[in-house]
């Protein structure tokens, strides 16, 4: 009896996430959905994203922005995580604490407002450019990238490992090539995937700083939810695929990381 109740509960908990995720996917493949069950099968709405210039350019802008945000975060976070993992000074500790509290107290809507206020007037009229959107997405993704990277430096205990390698006569280049990079890479890549997925779906800050020139896919989706649910369904489904794929990737990397820490 309680065993069945448990199974039922488990079933419900799984469906709670899966059913909403499936809605845009089912909608995007069906010709018509007004009643309980959808009707017909079509790829027309996906075709529309790729052939309508407005949607296609939004797709490209989204990909460029997400890639840019990931690269920017890579340059900023990897050296910083390396350094903050080692810094045992008060400044180091304060920066580590700050990096976890800042994004909490300043949610995206505030980041967006502050960016618009600071960069909308000459000589710093950057809002409305794709550069500003990349910066905004990098800011939103930064806590996730930073945390993932710092954790992977922590779990492998980079400091001890590097010192051991150095005492065995490994040069700096050899330490990087054979010790640090292979051990930290899964965590860094997981962070990068997370930033990519967040950037592809980001709507709130984008809508504040993007203007008309940097129209991303979610901005298009926002218009289409009011105009045409079928086009909206294909864009939504695409965003679901990106989320699911990046999570499959992160799970794979997570298992790899677990393997690494168990080897030690």
């Amino acid at each position: 009896m309680s065993r069945w109740l448990y199974r039922l509960l488990l079933m419900f908990l799984i469906l709670y996430i899966i059913v909403p995720l499936l809605m845009p996917v089912i909608f995007s493949f069906s010709i018509f959905w007004q009643d309980i069950l959808p009707q017909g099968f079509t790829l027309r709405w996906y075709e529309a994203i790729l052939t309508r210039p407005k949607n296609y350019s939004a797709l490209m802008v989204s990909l460029i922005v997400a890639t840019g945000a990931v690269l920017l975060n890579f340059i900023i976070c990897v050296p910083a995580a390396y350094a903050l993992n080692r810094l045992e000074t008060p400044i180091g500790k304060r920066l580590r604490a700050l990096s976890s509290v800042l994004p909490l107290v300043f949610p995206p809507v505030i980041v967006g407002t502050a960016l618009v206020l600071a960069f909308s007037r000459p000589p710093l009229a950057l809002t409305g450019s794709i550069f500003m959107v990349i910066v905004a997405h990098a800011l939103i993704g930064l806590p996730f990238m930073f945390r993932n990277t710092l954790v992977s430096f922590r779990t492998i205990d980079e400091r001890t490992l590097s010192e051991a390698a150095a005492s065995l006569g490994a040069t700096l280049w050899q330490r990087m090539r054979y010790v640090i990079v292979p051990n930290v890479l899964p965590g860094v890549l997981a962070g990068a995937l997370l930033v990519f997925a967040i950037s592809i779906g980001e709507f709130e800050v984008t809508s504040m700083v993007a203007g008309f020139t940097a129209q991303t896919l979610p901005l298009q989706l926002f218009q289409q939810i009011r105009n045409d649910m079928r086009i909206a369904s294909a864009i939504s489904a695409f965003l679901v695929y990106v989320s699911v794929l990046s999570f499959l990737g992160m799970n794979y990397l997570g298992r790899k990381m677990q393997g690494l820490s168990q080897q030690q």
């Binding site: 909403p20 107290v105 618009v116 206020l117 926002f222 939504s236």
Partner: protein
């Protein structure tokens, strides 16, 4: 090697991109925003006009009140739901545990607009779930769950909030040391004492951290609301959005509203922290 005092010049060098980027694109804009809310551009005279507006004009006061209620309601739903699921997850067999944890980390990256779309299809006026319930119970067409109402918005945001809290609480419950509880029992602690002095203090830091994330996130959320009801629901975050990017363009007012929003978050986070400290035994 003779290292008496470690020198960190490489580390400080590596911090330059991080500190530089955050100073230019986060710190400077935030300070600038706080200044712009009280200092007129050009003239340089200080005025608290925009704060006075928030206190005196009913729609701003309403926005503050709505945001407080809405964020609290969503945090409570997310907090209770997530604690419940987080309690179950560590008790599941390994296969299901990792499946549930992966599934429940999905909504984190999902666009708010996708969630809005999904719930329009599920619970809109012609929503699938609404139709199913109507047919099953033989209800008339005008009886349905309204996803565009306040309770509807809470249900939609729960799709973010419950999974987020689940991730936190699953870790917290997973770390709860059973032997500590048994030790307390063996020493003769009554069930109530075990809860008060062992279980609650262990759970409290994680729970409070989770609730802080919930509340702060909800105070700032507006994407899904905007996609579902436009400006029809008056929230502080929605007001800020409209002052930044729509017809009611008014940057200093947006700055003042933002400062109010940040202050509310900071205040509530401080309260939650004090609450957690008070729960510590002997504290």
């Amino acid at each position: 090697m003779s290292k008496s005092k470690p020198r960190y010049w490489v580390e400080y060098l590596f911090l330059i991109p991080f500190v530089g980027f955050l100073s230019v694109f986060e710190l400077y804009p935030l300070v600038n925003m706080a200044l712009r809310s009280v200092v007129e551009t050009g003239g340089g005279s200080v005025s608290f006009q925009y704060y006075a507006n928030i206190l005196s004009q009913p729609h701003y006061r309403m926005a503050v009140r709505n945001s407080l209620f809405f964020a609290t309601a969503c945090s409570l739903v997310g907090g209770i739901g997530g604690t419940f699921v987080g309690y179950i997850v560590p008790r599941l067999p390994g296969r299901y545990r990792s499946l549930l944890l992966s599934l429940y980390s999905l909504p984190m990256t999902l666009s708010g607009l996708v969630v809005a779309f999904a719930f329009i299809v599920l619970l809109g006026r012609n929503g699938v779930l609404n139709l199913i319930v109507q047919r099953l119970l033989g209800l008339p067409r005008d009886v349905y769950f309204d996803v565009y109402s306040w309770p509807g918005l809470v249900v939609v945001y729960a799709f973010y909030q419950i999974p987020l809290m689940t991730l936190t609480m699953a870790a917290v419950f997973g770390n709860l040391d059973r032997s500590l509880i048994e030790a307390a029992r063996n020493l003769g602690a009554r069930p109530l004492q075990v809860w008060r002095y062992v279980i609650i203090p262990t759970l409290a830091p994680g729970f409070v951290a989770g609730m802080s994330i919930q509340f702060a996130g909800m105070m700032g959320a507006f994407g899904t609301v905007l996609a579902l009801v436009g400006g029809a629901r008056n929230l502080l975050s929605v007001q800020i959005y409209y002052h930044i990017s729509e017809s009611t363009y008014n940057l200093p007012q947006a700055a003042a509203l933002s400062v109010v929003l940040v202050s509310i978050i900071a205040g509530v986070l401080t309260l939650l922290n004090l609450f957690e400290k008070a729960l510590r035994p002997g504290g």
